[in-house]
């Protein structure tokens, strides 16, 4: 988040005792804030467009609400009006006004509909929804895939095409700060084009209910300048680094011995299974457990012991039966896999 201009930060305490009348006003002020997951922060072209559309609709909607309710309250308080006024009101307010306003709104709003047919040589990112994590692969111009999991890295200022599907159940891919969401449906492939604009770290989530730990399925979306992105991608394409220490090497051996490779791909170390997230560069990730936990030793160890405690119903079995020293070594190894 370092690259983003620090805009209005919401005061943690808020104004004292907001009354009902002040609430909408308060909300308008608070709305200025942009969290890492806010659709109003406008870090991408699509989000910026929609955010502008929202403010226009909010002001228009508030005006309509005030006029309708004002008339209704006036009607209750005032003596009767003639039938001509009443009929004019039904036709004017019920027919003419909405037809005009809704037509204008549709013209404005639908002009933002994406043109999916448009296709180019832009970067393609394949994302598959799993229960409850994200399988990610970057498609290089030559067609090779660079695999990763639970993080999305994007170059700023250019459209990126996401190729979305799901393995078992429906998920939905959403980075609110950059643009709208798209469902990931087993047996179907959906496309979504987003243009990130402001470099920074944002938070994406699964937006479609996908089972027990739906709430625990997030990811970091990191927007880089183009050069930094290229450098990151080149690093990502390399095999795993085993830190040059006794602990890390022991951890690697334990990782293999405990059978972790049966599910987790770790390029250069063990390339057997492909059921769980790719861990080749797990040490360099911002988070663990798919966007829900800090990436540190303590969490790594806790996860290896009892992942079910951190993410209910997760597929990975716990390894609490391993000696503490082995778990610590595995954590050292994974931490060093930058």
């Amino acid at each position: 988040m370092t690259n983003r201009p620090a805009k209005v930060r919401r005061r943690p305490s808020g104004p004292a005792r907001p009354s009902l009348v002040a609430l909408p006003i308060l909300l308008m002020i608070v709305a200025g804030c942009d969290g890492p997951q806010s659709a109003l922060s406008g870090a991408g072209r699509e989000a910026t467009d929609v955010s502008r559309l929202f403010w226009v609709m909010l002001v228009g909607g508030a005006a309509v609400w005030i006029v309708v309710m004002g008339t209704a309250i006036f009607a209750v308080l005032q003596p009767p009006r003639g039938a001509r006024v009443g009929n004019a009101f039904i036709i004017g307010g019920g027919v003419v006004f909405p037809v005009v306003v809704l037509a204008a709104l549709l013209a404005y709003g639908l002009s933002m509909l994406p043109d999916w047919a448009q296709s180019g040589t832009r970067l393609k990112v394949h994302v598959t929804g799993e229960q409850w994590w994200w399988r990610v692969a970057y498609e290089l111009p030559d067609g090779t895939l660079v695999r990763d999991a639970n993080e999305i890295h994007l170059p700023a200022g250019e459209p990126v095409e996401f190729v979305l599907t799901a393995d078992e159940v429906i998920h939905s891919f959403w980075i609110p700060a950059i643009g709208g969401k798209m469902d990931m449906i087993p047996g179907r492939t959906n496309r979504l084009v987003l243009t990130a604009e402001k470099p920074g770290t944002y938070r994406g989530v699964c937006a479609e209910y996908c089972g027990t730990s739906h709430a625990l399925m997030a990811f970091s979306a990191i927007v880089h300048e183009r050069d930094a992105f290229d450098a990151w991608l080149a690093g990502q394409a390399k095999p795993a680094v085993v830190a040059d220490s006794v602990g890390a090497r022991r951890g690697r051996d334990q990782f293999i011995a405990a059978g972790c490779g049966g599910c987790h791909m770790m390029r250069g170390v063990v390339e057997l299974g492909d059921v769980g997230p790719d861990l080749t560069h797990v040490g360099s990730r911002r988070t663990l457990g798919s966007g829900i936990l800090p990436n540190d030793r303590e969490t790594l160890e806790a996860w290896v012991r009892n992942p079910d405690h951190l993410k209910p119903d997760v597929a990975m079995p716990g390894y609490a039966m391993l000696p503490d020293a082995d778990i610590a070594a595995i954590a050292t190894f994974l931490e060093g896999a930058k």
Binding site: P12, G14, L23, P24, L27, G35, P36, Q37, S38, A39, D49, V50, L53, F54, M57, W65, V68, T71, A72, I73, F74, V76, Q78, P79, P80, A83, V85, G86, F89, I90, G93, G94, P98, L102, L106, L110, P114, W116, E168, V169, I170, S172, G180, D183, I185, P186, R188, R203, V205, C206, A207, E208, Y209, G211, S213, H214, A215, L216, P312, D313
Partner: protein, 844 residues
Amino acid sequence: MSAPQTSLSHVDQGDPEVRRGQEERLSAVWATPKGWRYWTAVNNSEVGLWYICTAFAFMMFAGVLGLLIRVQLAFPDNQFLSAEAYNQTFTLHGTAMMFLFAVPIFEAVAIMILPALLGARDLPFPRLSAFGYWCFLIGGIFVCGSIFFDAAPQGGWFMYPPLSTKQGGIGADIWLLGLSFIEVASIAAAVELIVGVLKCRPPGMHMNLTPLYGWYVLIVGGMILFAFPPLIAGDFLFEMERAFDWPFFDPERGGDPLLWQHLFWIFGHPEVYIIFLPSIALLAMIVPTFARRPISGYSWIVLSAMGTGFLSFGLWVHHMFTTGLPSVSLGFFAAASEAVAIPTGIQIFVFVSTLLMGRVTRSVPMLFAMGALAIFVAGGLTGVMVAVAPFDFQVHDTYFVVAHLHYTLFGGMLFPLLAGIHYYFPIATGKMLSRRLGIWSFWLMFAGFNICFLPMHLTGLLGMPRRVFTFPGGLGWDWLNLISSVGAFVFAAGFLVFVWDVVRPKRETDAATRNPWKAGTVEWMLEMPPKPWGSRTIPKIESRYPLWDDPEFLTKYDEGRFYLSDAEEGKRETIITSVLDAQPIQCLRVSGPAVITMIAAGMLGASFIFATFHWWWLTIIATLGAMAAIIFWLWTGTAQHPEKAEKDIGLGSLVPLYISGPKSTGWWAMFITMTGDLTAFLGVVFGYFFFWTVHEQFPPGGTTAPGWQWPLVAGVLLLAAWAATWGARVVNGRGRVGLARLLLVAGPVAAAAGIAALVAGPWFSGLDPTEHAYPAIVWALVLWTALHIAVGIVMQVYCLARSVVGHMTPVYDTDIWNVALYWHFMAFTALVTTLVIGGFPYVS
């Protein structure tokens, strides 16, 4: 009965002695059973009351679940509920609110007040209402009770596959079968209410004099008939996948999860208006009363309600904007979604216009009406926002939508409903609710509602998705969620004030005076407290607001100077009129208290519950028991021969006691039921063609199985069975009873052979329904059709038996009329099934 056999035209209604005699006889006939037999009552005033109380009980249950949700989300990383418990909680909250409260409460209130609004003594099929109620009660307890055994569904109220098809346990089955069972009750009530509005209006009440509530009931009843069946079709396919592994929604075997989404939302979107319109209908009765003038723009509001109902069927895709549909579809459905704002807006403006032109009296119902307006207009405006597809890409499945839907449902449904309960409370109980408590409960609920749901718009825009059991702190949601949680409890406090007001012991001073709101519509002619007979005499209607327009109206009513002022034969009677101009055409004897309806509902409920646990033998036994109970009920309770052909109902009208065919209520009920059934069948057919659109080659691999030969044989046999049934009706009417019986023997034989031929096609061509979606959908069509034909066989045999024992004669022929009508629908069903499975593979 030793009642005098007087013809009303000769009775002196001015004589108090005569009137007292009439009232005694009416009281005896319409008396509510005492003791345990109270529960065998079928009269609308009892069934309606039970229905309303039960729906509110489920609402409070679902409300407590809502509060649990708010406790869990009050703070980030809260541990109050586990993930599984939370997921069951939100699933059941939505499911119960929608299926056990929002829709049933419409039916409950309508059953309660519709006869009064129409000046009728009861609805045409009281036992059907009671049957529907017991189904609702059993199904509702079954679905809600599951959470106490940690077995509740947890797939969300929309139950999207593959999540819900893959889920273990019986939660999803409870949802599918429990709710299918409740949908039976919904459709039963819809049939009852539609026939009620069409055929039970008082003499003189032309369609354009019908109270607006009646119009809305008609429109909403019609919507139920077309909206619920696609869901029933979906439930059928879904349960076949769960129980027998037929892969309709499994992409690995040619299925598609989106088929369910289409079927669900073809139901789900109209359902929003099925919930909303009846509440607007209550406002349409309340607003003119307190504006002290007729509604401004009667035709506008009727036409726009129809428009809303019609358009609501063309919007379902806006729930699927993010499923990756082409931009053309998005644009079309966005425009259609915006368009529905226009007729909906007109209805709002009609109310405001009525208020503008009237001199408004302030009252608790008006307070709720104004609150409803404030909330609903806000919800409508956010609806206009989410209909713009690109905006929906951001807010879909977030708390913004949670806020939007609660604004529309609270503003569009709950507040008008509470206005209506305050308004109509005297008609149900003879008492008034407290003005002071009403004002307290309103402001607590109004404030609590807004504190709870207004911030959620922002919570959603700040990125909080729906259906999350927890959320991390520091994303700008912490305070917003806490405020929402506080608001939810303020709302609950307001609702408890309302509940207290309803259940508190009433004092003398709470007794309602006659027409307490000084309304103009016909239901306020009733005595206070109301009598068990409903209307003392069934009025002749000449205007929309007879109590305002005719100063003599109440006197004529009290003196019994309209129709059916007596019950001289000791039977429960009401008047059936013609559909458009409400001319009296029959004096209908409606049924009285019965245990058999309860038994039938219990048996049917048992069969659904046993199926949930896959106890197939018990399921079959219970199903047969339910069929036997229903046949007993029909045999003993319907189409009875009256003791005379015609009856003088007063004001010089002599009408028949027995009619059959398109004029009779039974025929209409069959027609309406079968329209719904046909819609469900078309839902299954839609599935077939949906698969055709998503597969490059369908049937897969260019197969032509099940071939054209067997389907052709089946089609011919089934059409022969239809012709035999139709022929039996015609020749029976002409007095050739023997030939009719012969045809009623030939019909079942042809039908049974037809079923065999229908099954033979896919059977002998080796189509395995678990292999791929194609054989599965072919078998689904065959199964659906075969089961329906089997029911048709039972009906044919029933008519044959009725004829043999002399219940069915050339004059008393309503049984064969209705069965022939059923078979018209069967002919169409069989034709479509055989053409699709036997013909389509050759042309695709």
